[in-house]
Point group: C2
Chain length 397, copies 2
């Protein structure tokens, strides 16, 4: 028997995330890593979680029992208020709790994509989104918001397949750290109307703004046009991973009841429900301290971003360009054309013990060889300054 | 816009689990419910979990941080010993932690099934398996272990599609409570060899045997034939939901490294990893008290099963047949042909406030109208006796 012969056709598209494989190699002392997009564990509200778990378990055995696929109602109710703060009026029935926003992307791929359908994504885009959607065997086409590409061109490129959605992370996107401005969000909504497609808005970093003014989420802009979420085509994915704790795996989806009720069926069939006690304890911690906690997280990451941008200005040789993110966890570097990010990583690890992520993995078409992603979230300022100096050394050689 | 037009073709196959929808209606006082297949929360080792969560959180912030897709290594190592106890020699590399065994079924469907492929399942079978596989648009054919159906007949029935696996729960299956004997397990392995397909062995209830002798898992029997798990086609799915806690959503898959490494990619793309602290605390509780705790669970459920079988003998009118399970949570009733389980449920709820699950949902072909499933796990003996008396009343009218 050859086992792979039994696998579905989709299995041939599955590959290990270069980033997660890379992360396994970085536990050695002395290495400075700007690789993982992971929050600083020192910022987790650990005491609040200890209290929350204790109180949830003290409250009877239901914290350990099965619960409903929709998610824990008090948490969904807290999220109604949280979404309202960012301009999205909805009810608990418009919210599904997922096991991280990664699971939301998987379920949305499952709900929308038949083999050969087209998903529009940025080049570059979040690698985890490509991997999640890939399981449903779509084609990817480039969502090019800067080029003002017209609906007819997208439609022509999709051939016989149907375009199902545009996926993007409009605030401080992974991997570039860039933000989509309000006018471009509006024109994306126009495009979605013209193409009659859904918009998947990944808000994983939305709460991590360090300066500049808030821009309403795409779903909020669509709501302003249509008056009710039930008429909206935008699906918003949120996450507690970058704010309270990634290890609890709690995220959420906000959309019309029509979409949510279908996603509930997807979840029921796929894992029954997200863990009960995790939802209960996130709910307690969010109610106790989300708003104050997020201020502390922002202040810390802001200083780290500033240290990185500062040192880049001082240390980068001519010809290197980088983004100036207003939030999030990432700075994106574009090197002169002759450079290869993967080669640079090998040399950096070898000669100066510095790690980051080569940018090519974030491009569905394998372009972007001369780009790299740096994360500033999990290193203190001194380490960031030292790391960027090392990067400068390697680049100048 | 019509949103459903944007959905994938698979969406038309998704429907709410009748059982889970039913469970929502049963919170009213006075109702005796044999409906849900849920463990008695009074049996959860709540104190052990309270200690475990506290100790995991006290151990530093990594309990709240991202972790690897494969699962928490100490838990996988404990499972190596646990699997060895039931005759399955493997290493931690043969184990993936999933969010309940339901998620394992979803990921196995994703890994094996392309649209039009055939999955062999029992008629009846676990409804959650049908729903999980359905997302990948397979055909279902009947795995008929009693009829000794030959490989050539299965192959002919699959038409142009490829048969990918046989799915079954050999111990105290949901919904019938029946056990597959050793000779039949061996002949299933012969069939799998002839057809060159995988076997998905759902061991969700495996630890809940109340009498009779243990029968080796199918994977153990295949291992005895082949000498190494790396040569085995059987994939074993386990779960802590029926033993320690369902709400934490911790299950596992045991298979060859070839299959596990592919499933790791599936999980990485679908939800990154199962919650860190849940795996850590299950590990602590399993190490502290799994073996003693399971004795208590078995003793309690054995008394409940006995009470149900006892009262069925006393109260059932002629023409009603039922299974005599050696473990698990379910007794399966076959009523005279003229009866309809769904009608009986309506009448029972209305006249005697008794709930159970009509059997038809467990048949992929919609047959089984005259069957019902009774669960004895979540009611004490007095309630079980009263409930079966009520069932007798309704049936005699």
């Amino acid at each position: 028997m050859s086992t792979p012969d039994l696998f579905a056709t989709r299995a041939s598209r599955m590959k290990a995330s270069e980033i997660r494989e890379l992360l396994k190699l970085l536990d050695q002392p002395g290495i400075i890593s700007f690789a993982g997009g992971i929050p600083d564990p020192a910022l987790f509200p650990a005491d609040a979680f200890a209290n929350a778990f204790q109180s949830c378990l003290g409250d009877g055995p239901h914290a350990l029992q099965y619960s409903v696929s929709e998610g824990y109602l008090p948490l969904r109710e807290w999220l109604v208020g949280h979404m309202q703060q960012i301009g999205i009026e909805c009810s608990a029935e418009n919210i599904l709790i997922t096991s991280g926003s990664q699971q939301a992307l998987d379920y949305l791929g499952k709900l929308y994509l038949s083999p050969g359908d087209t998903a529009l994504v940025g080049w570059p885009t979040y690698l985890g989104a490509i991997n999640a959607f890939d399981a449903y065997e779509p084609c990817f086409d480039r969502l090019d918001l800067k080029a003002n590409r017209r609906a007819a061109e997208y439609a022509a490129a999709s051939g016989d397949g149907k375009i199902k959605f545009a996926y993007l992370s409009p605030d401080f996107a992974n991997p570039t750290g860039e933000t989509v401005d309000r006018a471009t969000r509006e024109s994306l909504l126009d495009l979605a109307e013209d193409l009659n497609i859904a918009v998947i808005e990944d808000g994983a970093y939305q709460a991590l703004r360090y300066d500049g003014e808030d821009i309403p989420p795409i779903l909020a802009l669509e709501l302003a046009r249509k008056g009710t979420i039930e008429a909206c085509r935008t699906v918003y994915c949120g996450s507690f991973s970058k704010t309270l704790s990634p290890g609890l795996r709690v995220g959420w989806v906000v959309a019309s009841r029509e979409v949510i009720s279908q996603l509930v069926l997807v979840k029921q069939a796929a894992d029954l429900h997200s863990p009960t006690i995790n939802q209960m304890s996130i709910n307690e911690v969010a109610r106790a301290c989300f708003d104050t906690h997020i201020l502390r997280v922002r202040a810390t990451y802001r200083r780290r971003r500033d240290a990185m941008l500062d040192t880049l200005r001082q240390e980068m040789p001519e010809g290197v360009q980088w983004t100036k993110p207003e939030g999030g966890m990432f700075v994106w570097l574009t090197l002169p054309q002759a450079h290869d990010g993967a080669d640079l990583l090998s040399r950096s690890l070898e000669t100066v013990q510095l790690a980051f992520v080569p940018g090519r993995a974030f491009f569905p078409d394998g372009s972007g060889r001369n780009t790299i992603r740096l994360s500033f979230s999990n290193s203190d300022e001194a380490t960031i300054r030292e790391g960027i100096k090392r990067l400068g050394q390697v680049l100048r050689h």
